[in-house]
């Protein structure tokens, strides 16, 4: 199966090639009727490479695993981890699990919304920040917790939001 990426940039073509290599490294041939079982891990890999899962990537994965693009889209739209829209450069995720909730995560989230001028699940117009909520990172002793990219900020308050934003350089 050749790449269908049409007018993609060379950088994108390299990514498609790498994704293709990843898929061919999977032991699909052992039982081709179960190729779908590799879909979710392939999408994880694809999203870590492209940052999101645009239509071309979905079609590419579908063709490689020999399943329909509709099935691939069905999976992407079901799981909150996957997105078909590009997210901001920095991902701010406010934990709204129960422990964080009872310790005031709602106020922290409101403050991020107010300062960034976006709603939950949106990216700022300049493409810098994506604001999301997630359910429990399991660091309940530090509740309420905010994750900025891979870093965990514990014992958050609405007052600390400005400091956290100020620490992000670009």
């Amino acid at each position: 199966m050749s790449c269908q990426c049409g007018n993609a940039t060379p950088a994108d073509r390299a990514k498609f090639e790498e994704l293709g290599k990843y898929i061919s490294s999977l032991p699909i041939a052992e039982n081709p009727s179960r190729s779908r079982g590799f879909l979710i891990q392939t999408l994880h890999r694809a999203q870590s490479m492209f940052g999101y899962l645009p239509e071309e990537v979905q079609k590419f994965v579908a063709a490689e695993l020999k399943i329909s693009p509709a099935d691939v889209y069905g999976v992407i739209s079901f799981y909150s981890f996957f997105t078909d829209k590009p997210l901001g450069r920095h991902k701010i995720n406010v934990c709204t699990g129960t422990a964080c909730f009872v310790k005031g995560a709602g106020k922290v989230l409101e403050e991020f919304k107010r300062r960034l001028g976006v709603s939950e699940g949106e990216t700022t117009a300049d493409g810098r920040f994506f604001l999301g909520a997630l359910r429990c990172v399991g660091a309940c002793s530090l509740a309420p917790v905010v994750m900025v990219d891979d870093r965990v900020y514990g014992n958050m308050t609405a007052e600390k939001v400005a400091d956290v934003l100020a620490q992000i350089a670009d």
Binding site: I67, T98, G138, A139, E159
Partner: protein, 614 residues
């Protein structure tokens, strides 16, 4: 290293045990919580100090998983092998390390916080006074380096697998688990042995055993602790289960939010394969077994076993009606057993020590122990593994040290979004599966969120409904639409638009959803509403009849006023994010109610208690 026989394993364990060891051992907890709290810097400082003082042969440093003392991270423990003395330090800073090492176990370093151990290990210890916790599931977590197979083997690791494969028939393994009374620790409480029996009774052929590591209940983190702190015990138990039911393939389904757990599992699987403890012909018994990891992608409903199986098959994680049960028709339509991490973590200990030993802990109907994750408004957030039948009062007040900041206990939520609230009147109930059910809650995975008088129970119910709405897969109408309506009614109440009729409607619709939803998620989703209604009816009534939120949480029902205690310092004016406060210096300030967003900043910053919240 290739361990082909039980004798080879025993020999290796013997060699490891008799190896000369440095007299002092320092355990450093490096789980997710510990690392986030700064364990990395403490660890570096310990290594530096050892080099500085040339203690390489006198001190052994072991990087371990979670000790359950999350409130005091970073945590380290000193064990003196000569005297048997031990010391636990909490809130350790890199600066304290030289003094701690200099003091050893003979004295306590000045300016530090020490912690009494509140647990014992029933496999090889008797409890001392004050040791309320019995650690079976967490027997190695926080004690061994999870990245070193040798440490697991030195501590009887894989001996249960060797025993099962070489001295027991599959049926004897099942009988032992049945006799132990072990029940599913993921929440349902179904007898594990019976699950295994069903799958074993299916015609031979391809079968699967799955470990459900999709720990989705917010506020529950015991599975993460086991996976990060003792991955081999899960692998060993899966192989034992595979042998019992006739499955040669194990699958661990783990959530993508646990990157450290995934790394440690992958490392452990690699080590076990290399040592011949996974793969072909284990212990020369002719039994083949291997394990693969599959990832979730953020869907709470995938904790339900049929949904989980669909997710592994690369589909949307939607549940299907049972029967057929997975034991008959599961992954790729083959007989499949799905057990939770904590359940697996009990198995090797049961095979080693026997069913009677396991039953000596816990209650008649629920033998063994349960790990609870204490979080919320409790003083000591962390993990506690106690024998079933321990009272909530012991867990919350003796292990958790009561409510934070001297506040009043109001309720504890168990069972996650599907569970219920327990109030002070049931604090002395010995808890197990049935006891929790009888008071309108459930065991769930063991998350305990403690609430104080500042929490509004209507708002809590709304929070859980919002969670369910988010996570409902949308397949069946009662869950998809019914829960949306429940949520809207709760919103009416917290906004002050509700009436007594709204409360009646809430009750009626909750009952319908319970009876008609397709899967466990939907059927239990009204539980938080029903249990808060049953336990805190006055709070609901205060909202609808008096337009008042007794806890002062529901924003639409509270307002802030500045009283004559105001000295006009201007602090509130400066901090108000929407400029709703005005007033001259040294004059009483006022709040423009039309601009106020009720964020409460003025209330918190005022040093003269001049802002009233009503």
């Amino acid at each position: 290293m290739n361990i082909k026989t039980p004798e080879a394993l025993a020999k290796m364990a013997g060699v490891l045990k008799s190896r000369p060891k440095p007299p002092v051992q320092i355990l450093v907890s490096v789980g997710t919580c510990g690392l986030a709290a700064g364990a990395g810097a403490v660890l570096k400082s310990i290594y530096d100090e050892i080099v500085e003082r040339r203690l390489e042969n006198a001190v052994e440093v072991v990087e371990v998983g979670c000790m359950g003392l999350c409130y005091a991270e970073p945590v380290i423990m000193l064990n003196d092998r000569r005297s048997g003395k031990r010391l636990i330090y909490g809130d350790v800073t890199p600066q304290q390390v030289p003094a701690i090492i200099a003091a050893g176990t003979d004295s306590i370093a000045a300016g530090t916080r020490t912690i009494e151990r509140s647990w014992y290990y029933p496999e090889f210890e008797k409890p001392e006074p004050g040791e309320l916790q019995a650690r079976i599931v967490l027997r190695n977590t926080g004690r061994l380096n999870p990245e070193k197979l040798e440490q697991y083997i030195e501590n009887d690791g894989y001996t249960a697998l060797a025993k099962a494969l070489t001295t027991m028939t599959p049926q004897q393994v099942i009988d032992t688990i049945l006799a132990s009374g072990l029940r599913g620790r993921g929440g349902g409480g179904f007898p594990t042995g019976r699950k295994w029996q069903f799958a074993a009774a299916q015609p031979a052929g391809e079968k699967f055993i799955i470990c459900n590591a999709d720990e989705g209940d917010p506020g529950a983190f015991m599975d993460r602790a086991v996976l990060e702190g003792d991955p081999h015990s899960v692998l060993e138990a899966m192989a034992i289960g595979g042998y019992a039911i006739g499955a040669n393939t194990g699958v661990i389904y783990i959530r993508a939010e646990y990157p450290l757990a995934v790394r440690r599992l992958e490392n452990a699987i690699g080590q076990a394969r290399e040592a011949g403890l996974l793969g072909k012909n284990l212990f020369g018994s002719g039994f083949d077994f291997d394990i693969q990891i599959k990832f979730g992608a953020g869907a709470f409903v995938c904790g339900e076993e049929t949904a989980l199986i669909h997710s592994i098959e690369g589909m949307r994680g939607e549940p299907t009606v049972k029967p057929p049960f997975p034991a008959v028709e599961g992954l790729w339509k083959r007989p499949t057993v799905v057990n939770n991490v904590e359940t697996f973590a009990c198995v090797a200990a049961i095979i080693r020590k026997g069913a009677e030993w396991f039953k000596s802990l816990g209650t008649t109907g629920s033998p063994g122990t349960k790990v609870f994750a204490l979080a919320g408004k409790i003083s000591k957030v962390g993990l506690a593994e106690v024998p079933m039948g321990t009272t909530l009062r012991d867990i919350i007040y003796r292990i958790g040290d009561g409510i934070r900041d001297g506040r009043q206990f109001k309720a504890v939520q168990t069972g996650g979004p599907s569970g219920g609230c327990i109030t002070a009147k049931n604090l002395d109930l010995p808890i197990d599966y049935e006891a929790l059910k009888s008071i309108g809650s459930m065991m769930g995975s063991g998350g305990m969120i403690v609430m104080d008088e500042d929490d509004c129970m209507v708002n809590i119910a709304k929070f859980f409904l919002e969670f369910t709405l988010d996570e409902s897969c949308g397949k069946c109408t009662p869950c998809r639409i019914g829960n949306r309506r429940l949520f809207e009614m709760l919103e009416e109440i917290t906004d002050g638009r509700g009436t007594l009729e709204t409360i009646e409607k809430l009750k009626a619709l909750s009952a319908i959803i319970k009876d008609t939803a397709l899967c466990g998620l939907g059927q239990t989703s009204p539980n938080p509403v029903l249990s808060t209604l049953a336990n805190f009816p006055d709070e609901y009534i205060a909202h609808v009849k008096e337009g008042r939120c007794p806890a002062g949480v529901c924003q639409k029902l509270i307002h802030f006023d500045i009283s004559d205690r105001c000295v006009g310092c201007g602090l509130c004016l400066k901090n108000c994010p929407v400029n709703a406060i005005s007033g001259e210096k040294r004059q009483r300030h006022t709040i423009d109610q039309s601009k106020c967003i009720k964020c409460g900043v003025c209330f918190r910053v005022c040093k003269f208690h001049a802002v009233d919240k009503k």
